[in-house]
Amino acid sequence: MTDSKYFTTTKKGEIFELKAELNSDKKEKKKEAVKKVIASMTVGKDVSALFPDVVNCMQTDNLELKKLVYLYLMNYAKSQPDMAIMAVNTFVKDCEDPNPLIRALAVRTMGCIRVDKITEYLCEPLRKCLKDEDPYVRKTAAVCVAKLHDINAQLVEDQGFLDTLKDLISDSNPMVVANAVAALSEIAESHPNSNLLDLNPQSINKLLTALNECTEWGQIFILDCLANYTPRDDRESQSICERVTPRLSHANSAVVLSAVKVLMKFMEMLPKDLDYYGTLLKKLAPPLVTLLSAEPELQYVALRNINLIVQKRPEILKHEMKVFFVKYNDPIYVKLEKLDIMIRLASQANIAQVLAELKEYATEVDVDFVRKAVRAIGRCAIKVEQSAERCVSTLLDLIQTKVNYVVQEAIVVIKDIFRKYPNKYESVIATLCENLDSLDEPEARAAMIWIVGEYAERIDNADELLESFLEGFHDESTQVQLQLLTAIVKLFLKKPTETQELVQQVLSLATQDSDNPDLRDRGYIYWRLLSTDPVAAKEVVLAEKPLISEETDLIEPTLLEELICHIGTLASVYHKPPSAFVEGSRGVMHKRLPARTGSGEGTECPDVGNAAGGSAPEAAPSIIPSQGDLLGDLLNLDLAPPTTTGPTPSTSGMQMGGMDLLGGGLESLVGTLGGDIGGSPAMGAGFGAAPAVMPASLNAPVGGGLGDLFDLGGGVGMPMGAYIPPKTVWLPAMKAKGLEISGTFARRAGVIQMELVLTNKAMSVMTDFAIQFNRNSFGLAPAGPLQVLTPLGPNQTIEVSLPLSTVGPVMKMDPLNNLQVAVKNNIDVFYFSCQYPISMLFVEDGKMERQVFLATWKDIPNDNESQFQIQDCHLNSEAASNKLQGSNIFTIAKRTVEGQDMLYMSIKLSNGIWVLAELKVQAGNPNYTVIELPASEIAAQINASEFKQQTDLNINCSEETVN
């Protein structure tokens, strides 16, 4: 057995020799030759030239040789598709072999050969193998369906393999079930909306039964699949948990972690007062601790996950601090992670032990680790007030060691301690000042300067110290420069007499000699403040500082929830959502934890259960079902481009170009438009600024409540202003932890306003409001921050008007005027979606020149035209025209033909798209006919019915006011 010799042949002419050997009559020689080929392949040599010769060896009874040839085939078939066909017959024959091992081998290998022509031949054998009598063949065939789907998804669907695969979930053999589950899960991932893995209580029961019987790997597949299920109620949730908990004793860490994932997720649904909830919490701790005695690589994976679990449910591991103590021989990646968790678990109960440990770590060798340990001591001081004093003295001890990076790190954290406990530990300042010269890192220098500035009145030589920094001002990093500027201004305000010269010097350095706009601006602000109103300056610069938070590096709650759903996977190791590192559509779907359903099935609010199910709720102000893109935007994560939601079936003949307008047609479009409209500069500009893609979307329920509007009665709208729909509730309080948002949209003086009413229906005060929009069809974006200046107390209501701009990022929404919004406050982030009236986007300069109108009207192809009637409108043409003008629908011309008034009107949208319309009004007839012509192909993308409804809305509301 010395196969290593095959690795050594490197001489020239090797290929020819191998060719001869491959064609040898002797079986042994052939086999030797194939081995040499595989060895060359492994080290990266190109041996594709031997393709026909190797394939010739395929017809053999020798299984070992056969496997080698197959291995070769899998590697090179793609580069030699025509010749690979030669192998098909053997495969098909092998799939009929009496030996199940050979049948399985054939179907397994065929699935790995990514050549279209071979794939065609694969279907029939695969179909047979999926129903083979031998479980070994069936389990191999199940995986093969996933392989085939990867090559040609359509084929798999057409051939009905997915149904066969679903049937295999009920197979009698647990391993077949496990592989079928794995294959289906993978296929389902690339079809996020399909209902492939139709999980229901019956199928879940089958999976749970198979779980007890299959291999460790199979258990992982099944548990990972279970984690995607959302139980109907807490009872079902509990019964699944009960059947999953035994897995926590499995020797395989991956089984344990996947079980933890299922439990962490389903626990969300259990009422907290339930006994079982407490039992479950207790059961989770020991297996998590046991993971720490696994091999270091697994420990690392476990620790990264524990980090998440500790943030989500700190109660689980709060008594287990000791197991996270660092061992001297732990690999550095384990040490750093343990330290992270130690900080999170530190509390008054264990602080003494933790501090003793941290002090020990601060003397270790690895620089990163030592720094983190020093920083951790600071965090402890801030987190546990009782320990602050001890922490400070520990830090002072560390400063005495004079180890450069320890000193610097200590000074950075002492600054934070000063922030948290002002005027308490100034006695240490003298020690800090001794180390001034050794500070060479910007962060440490900035921290030191801050300390000197903050306590300038107690440091006798503060001016000298700061002056010493000033010498090399321009070589400092921005951080230090800014800090130095502020510190000297503070000093000046505290000791104005002695430091006038110094402050002038720094102000001139900052404003006159610096290229940095931030620094300059800050300099000017101070300068003006000091020169105009020193008292105000004092109030501003020496104001009381807001508290700093106790916890740091917390993962944002929505991301944390998502990561909890990914326990055990790479996402939980990276602490990033899968979309941040996975290409394509796979795994881009965001997962969420289910909502708690309260006790019993009869929950008061059916909507909660609905949201828990993850299905899109039907309620009008909907919680956005896939808030992925939005979340991504909010977190500024590296997200893959969002996949558009499934294509909307078209029923009108209006859908022309499709979606690729932006790419190809835009330039020519702009050209034709320019020609058409006779060089209207506003038009050109509008286009340049916001070239929007406006794909057709149907079934837009915008004017759905038309009938309601009629019933509303008069007195709501303003005679000449734009139509403003009444406020509706967008976000009900129960979905947003007590925050209720209702609102509407208005266009006032050319500015689109989002008018919001925020009501706090919770018991606690809400602060820190912020708002963000998802990309939308017209690029709507907040033009400023959400102005909620005072905290919103319980039962308080506040009305806010948010100006919107239309220059935000654009993405087609369905319906077109849908807007997905995220509102954040100190409690959480909430999502809702609402729909704005299109009329809000009609701009003031939408009045087209008559000639241009005429020319454009003629040039628009008939296909673009759409016609509809407005029923029961009792306005005369004059009043209608006036009313519409209020909403920026301008009448260009009017003529009367046979008792009919014809109004020609133009509308311009905020993104530069023009729409032309003709309104026929017959005196005495309450019905209007509108013919509408979008002014170009691009506008043709705007769906006709959309505009019909909008125009309806406007005319109707005009009528309503007149009546």
Binding site: T42, K67, L68, N212, S249, H250, F325, E357, N404
Partner: protein
């Protein structure tokens, strides 16, 4: 799922490369070599992301095993699989070395084809694999044999084949514990735990149903009054079992029942933290005499029955990097300063319980202007004792094989306890 699996030697040359997924190209092989194996810095993580491709690696002696993927795979599973792969290779050809891998590369490819299908791990129990993946080529099997193989590979008891026969039914139980300790210089226990394993070697005929019992506190307490035979019970923090153990039964009744694989298997792993017998106590005394001299005195005390003997005792006392010379005096065993390891290594072959021994050393230091103080790594210790420091006792292991004519009494059973030091450190 796993997109590909590569094995490299220490130079970064590829020994085995198997790609399962289309999204993994040949350049992935090079990316790992350049960014991890040849990287200048120490490896900071076992998971590396290079250009949106994730690499999981483990190292066995100087061989690198790397699994590659572009998807959000189950990371714990990938590592478990890599360990399993190492186990399987070791079971087939012994030590994982460059030479062994090159000599068996055809076999490895065959194994990789079998235990990883499209990146999904399949049955990887060596017992089952060895029935149909052999180095000698497949013997022509009868139809029954073939279906027996496939039913075993996919079956519920994938780890054992039917029809095993032994003339002598025999089983060996080894309770192997490693006791871990971190003690402060003042003798305060900072953390201590025992991680133990019950390894079973069985040579039993047929499909024997086994039941294992130990002095688990929960079980003993449940049995209550009847028990009182003086058997000390222990509190087990957590335990995990080989896949042959019926976990749902353990969860419900806390009884450990299983059909064991033939030959050796690790039946269970457990961890205890309470009432641990610490076999040795280390009392360090380090005194810095001026800038160029250190005086070290270390006393070890054995803390178990005098009739028992500890073996392979080794105490490792770290010395500063600037040590120029060391003089050692010890009462027992041999002590030596090993400059290459920056430590004084003190070895004692045997030591009975309730004894104590001492070493003292004078360490001379070269004067340095290095401001950084010596980090004083902890003193570590190795030993082996013939009892279980956790206090675990095997109460019974019953064997039932209803189909064959041997009973529990006919089985010859052996039990052995070995306690070893894990990370047994005392700070000084």
């Amino acid at each position: 799922m796993i997109g590909g699996l590569f094995i490299y030697n220490h130079k970064g040359e590829v020994l085995i490369s198997r790609v399962y997924r289309d999204d993994i190209g040949r350049n992935a092989v090079d990316a790992f070599r350049v960014n991890v194996i040849h990287a200048r810095q120490q490896v900071r993580s076992p998971v590396t992301n290079i250009a949106r491709t994730s690499f999981f690696h483990v190292k066995r002696s100087n061989i690198w095993l790397a699994a590659v993927t572009k998807q959000n795979v189950n990371a714990a599973m990938v590592f478990e699989f890599l360990y399993k792969m190492c186990d399987v290779m070791t079971a087939y050809f012994g030590k994982i070395s460059e030479e062994n891998i090159k000599n068996n590369f055809v076999l490895i490819y065959e194994l990789l084809d079998e235990i990883l299908d499209f990146g999904y791990p399949q049955n990887s129990e060596t017992g089952a694999l060895k029935t149909f993946i052999t180095q000698t080529g497949i013997k022509s099997q009868s139809k029954e044999e073939q279906s027996q193989i496939t039913s075993q590979v996919t079956g519920q008891i994938g780890w054992r084949r039917e029809g095993i026969k032994y003339r002598r039914n025999e089983l060996f139980l080894d309770v192997l514990e490693s006791v871990n300790l971190l003690m402060s210089p003042q003798g305060q226990v900072l953390s201590a735990h025992v991680s133990g394993r019950v390894v079973m070697k069985s040579y039993l005929s047929g499909m024997p149903e086994c039941k294992f019992g130990m002095n688990d506190k929960i079980v003993i307490d449940k049995q209550g009054k009847g028990g009182g035979n003086g058997c000390q019970s222990i509190a087990i923090d957590d335990c995990t079992f080989h896949q042959c153990v019926r976990l749902s039964k353990f969860d419900a009744e806390r009884s450990i029942s299983f059909i064991p694989p033939d030959g050796e298997c690790e039946l269970m792993r457990y961890r205890t933290t309470k009432d641990i017998i610490l076999p040795f106590r280390v009392i360090p005394l380090v005194r810095e005499v001026g800038r160029t001299k250190l005086e070290v005195k270390v006393v070890i005390k054995s803390n178990f029955k005098p009739s028992l003997l500890a073996q392979k005792i080794e105490v490792r006392i770290p010395t500063p990097l600037n040590t120029s010379g060391v003089q050692v005096i010890c009462m027992k065993g041999k002590a030596k300063y090993k400059a290459s390891e920056n430590a004084i290594v003190w070895k004692i072959k045997r030591m009975a319980g309730m004894k104590e021994s001492q070493i003292s050393a004078e360490i001379e230091l070269l004067p340095t202007n290095d401001k950084k103080k010596w980090a004083r790594p902890p003193i570590s210790m190795n030993f082996e004792v013939p009892f279980a420091p956790s206090g675990l006792k095997v109460r019974y292991l019953k064997v039932f094989e209803p189909k064959l004519n041997y009973s529990d009494h006919d089985v010859i059973k052996w039990v052995r306890y070995i306690g070893r030091s894990g990370i047994y450190e005392t700070r000084c």
